[in-house]
Symmetry: C2
Subunit: 459 residues, 2 copies
């Protein structure tokens, strides 16, 4: 069985404190890509990553885009014939609100109970940074890397990567590679290294319902003017049937059945629905009838409300008939659903069900295609050996309910297979208050990547 | 036909500028009773009213309550045998948000096109203040009032008057009277003085739906965890049927039919549904099938959403599965619906329709009973003559969709009939940005009240 080479292991152990300090420094930068008031912070995070790549021994360039910059690190000094590996990650983070639900401030990283708490700790700064440190270990100890490496770090993942696909298209020559490695997902359970077989896609909308021209007194006008908040509720209520299926006509038309062996493997995973339920804190689970919880999460599409806003939401009572109501609505997609097709279906559906007296509009905010992995070949084999070396056991094959829209773009433009090898854990609060990353997974993750580089160099 | 006595008219004309300045001074005080950060402002408004009553020649006391104070002004020097009239109004105002929709700031009163724009201009500071100035005119010109007068000004009307009914109960002897006069409503149209025959009651709730213990990533959990925002929408969608009737079981059980003559009179009012629709800015009107717009507004109960809040509501997209969702929901009630009974029906209904996986709770925020007026007797006759004198035409009998919960309390505790004689106008934005009061109605309102006092003294 492959083991973590002792020289790399020793280097990472000896430098553990410094590496932690550097990570914490990165985590203090509030690089919230969705908020223009954080644009300077987001740029600062890009420069920080470039500096970190240079310190590790790579060349690094901050490329401008129409949005947040893309950082590209390069090492081209591998032995002739060695493959080129592209590592992708993102340095931007989700908004941290609601701030009052954080135990410690989101941009003041803190270790509690073996976890690093901070916005971006696991999604994705910590997982991006462990790649940089694995590269540093190789270069510091051995003066060279066994493969050519391109590190591509973007700053718009949390807003749908609007400028990444064009960047990849435009920079195909720079980014040409034999494999893409991404760590932006979770292991199935603590101690259980995992390789992802699928990602769901996303179609994210804003649904606006406009009623009267301005807020009205609910006593003087209520009963004769259509209430846009009630209209919004009635529109949203049409989006599922009683069995939890999405009731937007045509929604399931493009859904392909899942391969039986993958479904079989999923059913063998050590998964307790009751434990999952307890972890969420919900009183019961729900969703589409006829599927297990893991199937609902990984293999079935959804339609969710991500936000609601209308009228008076403060302390006490205000008798207002609101002028407008807004919902953020997003659909998770599975192969072969197409975000643009879903967008059209959603617009047609909302037009059909909106009552007279209000104007309902659907605006697409972002989307990404669903994806399934190739689970054969040298990339997957190297990953299996690397994870086994770092974690002491073979990885399991899992699915993922979330979306990394760029995965499909990499495959399409660069023609290289993508490996999704994540080091998060269930319950990590990736998009919620008290986001955390396991210290153990960060530590073992660096070693797994160090071995992966070596294994791919021998391929 | 009764006319406005020339001495009172001359006084009000001569002092017009000063009276306007004083009113503007009152309107600059942001006495928002719903917001604890405005407690000091609300108290300042109470003291201001007491000072104004004293300047007019009444005794005035600021009475403490467990909430905002109650101001009582008194004049007991009328001729033996003269009746006692209690004037009720409120010095608190609605919250002014959203501030960006005001043309001029809410607490910087401004006259544009014959309208006084300010939060509280018509609801109810302007209408309360015109009573004070009518009293001042009598006392300044004639040194006496034709009736004994009690002015009762509260500071909690916009939060449901929680301490007023107990105050009236406790101070029955102080407040004993033969008639109650309230100006906190609107005329049917410009130039058309109006007396109200009815008010709707109110039952105002907050509906909270709790799902998971905290916000979750909508990709990692969506499809297996019940979404509380979607659950809230589905609960709200059960509250009406396809004909616009409230579908909460038992909701209509206590509704009494409206008297045929009042319904007949209402159908004779000069009302254009299309003009009303244009005024609201809505693309079409809605509501309960089988009733005219005025019947829907005045004689039929409603269920409205006043506010919605859940999850992420900022700029851009956040893929969150919210932990909770909230709706402010209120029902307008008609005789003989009871707010507490409606509260129970609402709680039972929500419990019945809430899906497993969420906890839905209904919290009553405030309520008030519906009311119908006595349209016979000396009080109504005096009002008819007073309004005719000031406006040059007989008043019409109207209804009102809004609520003044204290009206029923006055009748019950003091045993005196209540006259609702308001000087607002349609489109006045009472609870919305750009609230205004007509300068003409303020001016004529003072004169109408001056005549009313005289007419009641002769009764």
């Amino acid at each position: 069985m492959t083991v973590v080479p002792s020289d790399l292991d020793a280097y990472l152990t000896a430098n553990d404190e410094r590496i932690r300090r550097e990570l914490f420094d990165l985590l203090t930068i509030p690089s919230v890509s969705a908020r223009s008031e954080h644009d300077a912070d987001t740029r600062r995070a890009a420069e920080w990553i470039a500096g970190s790549l240079r310190s590790a021994g790579l060349a690094a360039t901050v490329h401008e885009t129409a949005g947040h910059p893309v950082v590209v690190g390069e090492y081209r000094g591998a032995p002739r014939g060695a493959p080129t590996v592209l590592v992708y990650g993102h340095y931007d983070v989700q908004p941290a609100e609601p701030l009052d639900l954080w135990t410690s401030p989101p941009f003041a990283p803190t270790v509690r109970d073996g976890r690093i708490y901070a916005r971006g700790s696991v999604d994705d700064k910590g997982q991006l940074f462990l790649h940089v440190k694995a590269l540093e270990a190789h270069l510091a100890v051995r003066g060279t890397l066994p493969v050519n490496v391109i590190v591509l770090a973007e700053g718009e993942e949390e807003v749908g990567s609007p400028h990444l696909a064009p960047f990849i298209e435009a920079q195909q020559d720079l980014l040409r590679c034999d494999a893409v490695v991404i760590s932006d997902s979770a292991m199935f359970a603590p101690g259980l290294p995992s390789v992802l077989s699928s990602l769901r896609g996303l179609a994210y909308f804003q649904l606006d319902v406009q009623g009267p021209a301005q807020d009205l007194h609910s006593g003087s006008y209520g009963g004769a003017v259509v209430n846009p908040a009630m209209a919004l509720a009635r529109i949203l209520a049409t989006m599922h049937d009683a069995d939890g299926r999405v009731a937007v006509p045509g929604f399931y038309d493009a859904v392909r059945d899942w391969p039986a062996p993958v479904r079989e493997q999923m059913r063998g995973l050590p998964f307790q629905e009751e434990t999952f339920r307890e972890e969420t804190g919900a009183s019961a689970l729900g969703g589409e009838q006829g599927y297990t919880v893991l199937e609902r999460l990984w293999t079935r599409p959804t339609c969710e409300v991500n936000g609601l806003l209308s009228g008076y939401t403060g302390e006490g009572a205000k008798t207002v008939l609101p002028a407008r109501a807004m919902a953020k609505v997003s659909c998770r997609l599975v192969p072969d659903q197409d975000p643009r097709a879903i967008e059209r279906l959603m617009q047609e559906h909302v037009e059909r069900v909106a009552p007279p007296g209000v104007r309902a509009t659907v605006t697409a905010l972002h989307g990404g295609r669903p994806w399934r992995a190739e689970l054969d070949g040298p990339l997957f084999d190297a990953a299996r050996r690397a994870l086994a070396a770092a974690f002491g056991r073979e990885p399991v094959i899992t699915g993922e309910g979330g979306s990394i829209p760029v995965v499909g773009d990499f495959e399409r433009v660069l023609g290289a297979p993508v490996l999704l090898m994540g080091f998060g854990l269930p319950g990590e609060n990736a998009h919620a208050p008290d986001e955390w990353m396991s210290v153990e997974n960060f530590t073992k993750g660096m070693r797994a990547v160090a071995v992966l580089l070596e294994e791919m160099g021998q391929g």
